[in-house]
Symmetry: C2
Subunit: 310 residues, 2 copies
């Protein structure tokens, strides 16, 4: 009989709750939580988020690395990643719905000056402002999440432009692809939203070259990864008024260090990586289903293409 | 030939811009701006917002009172309003669109804790919270604006309940009507939004009787009129935790006095009557069209029923 072993390798969190949700699906599972790994030969299937580099090559029988979220950049940044192992990620309708609501909420907040009025309130200042009228949103990234955000914003009456690495044809979205068309994509937009996977091609894509091409007064929303953003270039662009402001949910280092300048910048709003949060129940179902697929030699769901990195 | 006289009676604003927009439609118009009225016998058509009580009965030939906004409560509160005068209001797609965006923006702001994170930011506090999941919105008021807000929120996936004085049948909205069903309407809602006209029946409708019937932790949005809200009852309900918070755009006295307790309440957010702002171009078009209708003995657009008060 098969060993039924799953390793949970989530160094940043107490995995007790997730372990119980997996056990509820099959009480015979042998669930181990890193660093209490036991016999390394037992480990064929591992659930990871930000594992220590080099750790995964220690398991001689490893077959599947399951990311504990939608992103897999945290896996590929390990230079000693074992070859010929299947990598999967979570795909979850609630993740795409959360992301759509976050992007729409941030855009409407900016358009309606809700945060500004809250700041006026502290000074008992009654000072009406015109709502902003800019209506064009450029989405960088047109994967499942990008498509969902585009459809959601379309329903609210926004005009959507979208950019991706490879060509796409999407209803009600003016699409652009490839590095040379990035400036055309962002050029006319009032809001620029980064929803890209983090790869060597997209690292630091939000930099001074891009900010020089945006419409004066545009607003940036980064819900991709901290690695997409050149932080100094953002500060410069805000200083010179090219960008009007930014809302950031992801950072190069999380939690953002106490002394980071972003905390105190009046035109940078930040949220603590909450735009889209893994639902534990759904994650447990999807991860257990793929574990069964592995054992039954069935194709795995939501496989990642290592040559693309997403 | 007809005198072509229009009186602008907008004591709270400099009407120069609006006067120019009307003149652009017909250079032969004799546009007068209160208090420089000239011969009171010339005045058949007046544009008003918050006129001094008793002023309108001074004009013996007055035929039409045109409200400078969607609401007409400011007209009916005059105890000396002349009888047998036609009253009209502005109906403007941009007003309904603005209101929809405002209500959605406030709901998403609350759901995503955007203001809370902004307050955390001042203290460099990284403290992720779960997004709120409550999805049911009760709209009080199902006129043109209420219908538009309902459709907009439906497109975002919210479940809509609606209450009005008279029965309505609206797709995708569970409707209630009449005073006795108000508690059923608000009972299950996560968000309660007041979009009612202000009449003797709806004055102080947002009071302790209603707040006792809401779900614990519900959130109130008042974009009707300040007169809909019993301010002390709101403070009590927040103190006892029945309501989680409120966002108010309208107040009994505007601007809200400096020493008003709402300015300093942590769970009351306020905006300075900006949820829906009259577009001057559209207002000028609609008001001039009705002026022509009056002169040509055609039916006027957007007449108000004085027996209902809206």
């Amino acid at each position: 009989m098969h060993a039924m072993t799953i390793l949970i390798l989530l160094p940043e969190r107490d995995a007790t709750d997730f372990s119980l949700l997996l056990a509820a699906r099959n009480p015979n599972l042998d669930i181990r939580t890193w660093p209490d790994v036991g016999d390394i030969n037992d480990i064929e299937y591992v659930i990871v988020w930000n594992h220590p580099a080099g750790e995964l090559k220690k398991y001689p029988n490893l077959k599947v690395i399951a990311s504990f979220g939608a992103g897999v950049d945290h896996i590929f940044k390990d230079p000693d990643l074992p070859a010929n192992v299947t990598i999967t990620r979570l795909v979850d309708d609630s993740l795409t719905q959360q992301m759509s609501e976050y992007v729409a909420g941030v855009i409407l907040n900016h358009r309606l000056h809700l945060t500004t009025y809250r700041e006026f309130q502290a000074a008992a200042l009654w000072s009406p402002k015109h709502a902003r009228s800019g209506n064009t949103v450029c989405l960088l990234g047109l994967g499942k999440i990008g498509l969902s955000v585009a459809a959601y914003l379309n329903r609210l009456g926004f005009t959507i432009r979208g950019w991706s690495q490879s060509p796409k044809d999407i209803e009600n979205v003016k699409t652009f692809h490839g590095e040379q068309s990035l400036s055309d994509a962002v050029g006319n937009a009032d809001y620029i939203v980064c929803l890209l996977p983090l790869t060597t091609e997209t690292e630091n894509i939000l930099d001074k070259d891009l900010f020089r091409k945006v419409k004066k007064g545009a607003y940036l929303i980064n819900v991709g990864r901290g690695g997409h953003l050149n932080e100094e270039d953002l500060m410069d662009s805000l200083y010179h008024g090219q960008l009007d402001g930014a809302c950031l949910d992801v950072f190069k280092t999380e939690p953002l260090p106490d002394d980071h300048a972003f905390w105190r910048h009046p035109n940078i709003h930040l949220t603590p990586h909450t735009a889209s949060v893994t639902n534990l129940e759904k994650a447990a179902s999807q991860i257990y289903e793929n574990y069964q697929n592995m054992n039954n030699n069935k194709p795995l769901l939501n496989r990642v293409d290592p040559s693309k990195g997403y």
